[in-house]
């Protein structure tokens, strides 16, 4: 493993036919019954992308409706369904699984030097469960949809809604088990499948982030599943759980729902933070600043993330004392996120930075996540939030965290590891154009929404006062730019599969284990069991990464 040729990317002639995980079996059966984590990740990529596209189409309808003050494109009842379904598809079927199920599945065994995840059959099962949950949800949406908001708040979901609440609930319920099994698989794999020499503090921070995410998945997801079951019991058996008329309490639903759904925000963002750690360290060619702090801040976020759910309920009838406690804890959970952000910036300081496409996305992440995080403090402040709750300020805040954070990190990760996943290079030019368009389009879409929210525009309404139209036009125009920016990678990444330059094994000259096998990797990941003798993010020669030698070899071969 110390041989430079092993990482130079040109150790194997480009034209030599190689058996890899993609060409190792061409039948449909070989894909549908595969236990290879890499193939499962690719199937997740296709499925999750389909849901992202569907959620995006709903978003387009929302922005088109809000182009004008009157409710003129959609009926108000239809608008309720459109924003609900946008949220459900995006949160449960895109944001939560995207990075863990695609990048996590593909990379985690490679990064720890394993042949596969510890429980390959369970991994395939989690994909099938995701498909079943998704199909049930889509069926319910086609039959008539759901209009409760993605949060399924009672009493909308129990008493007033006649839409397909329970069908969608069952879809989400089933889908939750996919998360649980993925999290379980990751934890077991990290504990038991690490290669010799791969100690806990040599693990890439991507792995640490996925470990923390898996804890949240396992501990939180069952609660939302039980909550959905309780809604079903109340709807069908009229047993009083959430309805005051029969002895229940609607606020209890919010407690149970947010006990999962606030940590779920960290299920979405923590893997993204893992991606950003890899990309920033790699493209700054520096060991991450404060490795241990960044690693443990992931665990701290996972733990503290469970203690702050009440900040979603400041104006819902929760006691003032509880609000005060949750407000304080919300300020506390900002600390580990801030540690990460400071350490990423410190990593870049005096680094040898190259502005390749993944790095452009990662730098975009830093700015957008910062805005998203800091506006979270506005909303965690128990006084200010009274003015801002249920306005577009909230919408802007969580889109800055979810899209500006998770989606940008996901795109950074896809671009970073695309050569490893497919063995092909994409067009750097179009990659950079796309990253710029996404950044500009995103800000144009969501920054005006902070102002709209501060001016009092409520969320979830199809109409608004005329004086707010200019900012809404900005927002819709930005959404168009964002949409183009997001569609561009679909085109040039697919193009790269057929016409892209063959990727070297280690095109970025980075030290991680995943770059020390061929692109695409063989089914068993490594020809020999890797033995790790270097520290994480060691760009020195000690890690076998003689970049000058590797570049010389590349120049000679190319």
């Amino acid at each position: 493993m110390q041989d430079v040729s092993a990482i130079s990317g040109n150790s194997i002639p480009a034209d030599e036919p190689k058996l890899n995980y993609i060409n190792n079996g061409h039948t449909l059966k070989s894909w549908l019954l595969t236990k290879d984590h890499k193939r499962i990740a690719l199937m997740y990529l296709l499925s999750v992308s389909a849901f992202f596209l569907m959620g995006g189409i709903y978003a387009a309808f929302i922005r088109l409706e809000l182009l004008t003050p009157a409710s003129d494109l959609l009926e108000t009842a239809t608008y309720n369904k459109v924003f609900t379904q946008h949220g459900i598809l995006m949160v449960f079927f895109f944001l939560i699984p995207a990075i863990p199920a695609i990048l996590g599945n593909f990379l985690l065994p490679l990064m720890i030097g394993a042949k596969d995840l510890a429980l390959p059959r369970i991994n395939l099962l989690s994909l099938y469960i995701y498909w079943i949950g998704g199909i049930i949800t889509l069926w319910a949406l086609m039959k008539g949809g759901v209009d409760t908001g993605w949060t399924f708040y009672t009493p909308y979901s129990t008493t007033f809604s006649n839409s397909y609440v329970m069908a969608v609930g069952i879809g989400v319920f089933i889908n939750g088990f996919s998360s649980i099994l993925t999290g379980l698989n990751f934890i077991v794999s990290i504990h038991t499948m690490r290669a010799p020499g791969m100690t806990w503090f040599r693990l890439p921070l991507f792995v640490w982030a996925h470990y923390a995410t898996s804890l949240v998945m396992i501990l939180g997801t069952p609660v939302v599943a039980i909550t959905i079951l309780l809604v079903a019991i109340e709807r069908f058996a009229r047993i009083g759980i959430f309805d005051p008329a029969i002895g229940g309490d609607p606020i209890l639903f919010q407690h149970l729902f947010w006990f999962y759904s606030h940590p779920a925000v960290y299920i979405m963002i923590l893997p993204g933070m893992g991606v950003i750690s890899e990309v920033i360290a790699g493209f700054s060619r520096k060991r991450i600043f404060g490795y241990e702090f960044v690693a443990f801040s992931s665990i701290a976020i996972a733990v503290f993330g469970f203690l702050v759910w009440g900040h979603h309920m400041f104006v819902s009838g929760q006691s003032v004392f509880a609000g005060l406690v949750f407000s304080f804890l919300t300020m506390v959970v900002a600390v580990p996120s801030a540690i990460k952000t400071f350490n990423w910036v410190a990593t870049m300081y005096k680094g040898s930075i190259s502005y390749d496409t993944p790095m452009l996305y990662a730098i975009g992440f830093l700015g957008l996540f910062l805005v998203g995080g800091l506006t979270g403090l506005f909303l965690g402040s128990i006084g200010l939030t009274v003015h801002l709750t249920d306005t577009y300020f909230i919408v802007a805040h969580f889109h800055y965290v979810m899209v500006g954070g998770q989606v940008i990190a996901y795109l950074a990760g896809i671009h970073y590891w695309w050569p490893k996943m497919t063995g092909r290079m994409y067009s750097e030019f179009w990659g950079k154009v796309s990253a710029m368009l996404v950044f500009v389009g995103f800000n144009l879409t969501f920054f005006p929404q902070f102002i709209l929210g501060y001016m009092g525009m409520p969320r979830r309404y199809a109409s608004y006062p005329e004086e707010l139209q200019v900012l809404n036009i900005f927002s819709t125009a930005g959404a168009s730019v964002l949409g183009i920016g997001l569609l561009m990678p679909v085109v040039y990444l697919i193009h790269s599969l057929f016409y892209g330059k063959k990727a070297a094994d280690n095109p970025w000259m980075h030290p991680g284990l995943e770059w020390r096998t061929s692109s695409p990797p063989p089914t068993e990941n490594f020809k020999e069991m890797p033995v790790v003798t270097w520290e994480a993010y060691d760009f020195g020669e000690e890690s076998g990464l003689d970049i000058e030698e590797a570049r010389r070899r590349e120049a000679v071969t190319v």
């Binding site: 504990h191 501990l219 609660v223 606020i251 209890l252 407690h255 149970l256 006990f259 469970f306 203690l307 759910w309 009440g310 929760q318 006691s319 003032v320 004392f321 509880a322 005060l324 406690v325 949750f326």
Partner: protein, 108 residues
């Protein structure tokens, strides 16, 4: 897998599992009949408390014997205890709201 099964059966054996199963059945029947007793006259919520106590006992048998936690490593014990700790967080922070709604520190 067969080796694992053989190893587990050494712990309490098939008769042991049957005994545990019977304990769970008795617990279920006891829960049913106890719901007819008017324990709430002792203090409000006593019926619920008894039902939860029985359920908790049954759960402990399942975790310790059916799930083999009793013979598992410290890591597994840590995972099991952590899940209860998380449950405690959920109950404690939720009840923090309910207990301070009317007579809370900051209410009128």
């Amino acid at each position: 897998m067969s080796d694992n099964h053989a190893e587990h059966e050494e712990h309490i054996g098939i008769p042991g599992y049957i005994v545990i199963f019977l304990i769970l059945v008795v617990g279920t029947i006891f829960t049913y009949f106890s719901s007819f007793w008017d324990l709430d006259s002792i203090f409000p919520g006593a019926n619920t408390l008894l039902a939860l106590a029985i359920a908790f006992t049954k759960m402990m048998f399942v975790i310790l014997y059916f799930m083999h936690v009793r013979w598992s490593s410290k890591t597994i014990w840590l995972a099991a205890v952590a899940s209860f700790f998380w449950l405690l967080i959920m109950f404690a922070f939720t009840m923090q709201d309910y207990f301070t709604r009317v007579s809370g520190v900051f209410s009128a």
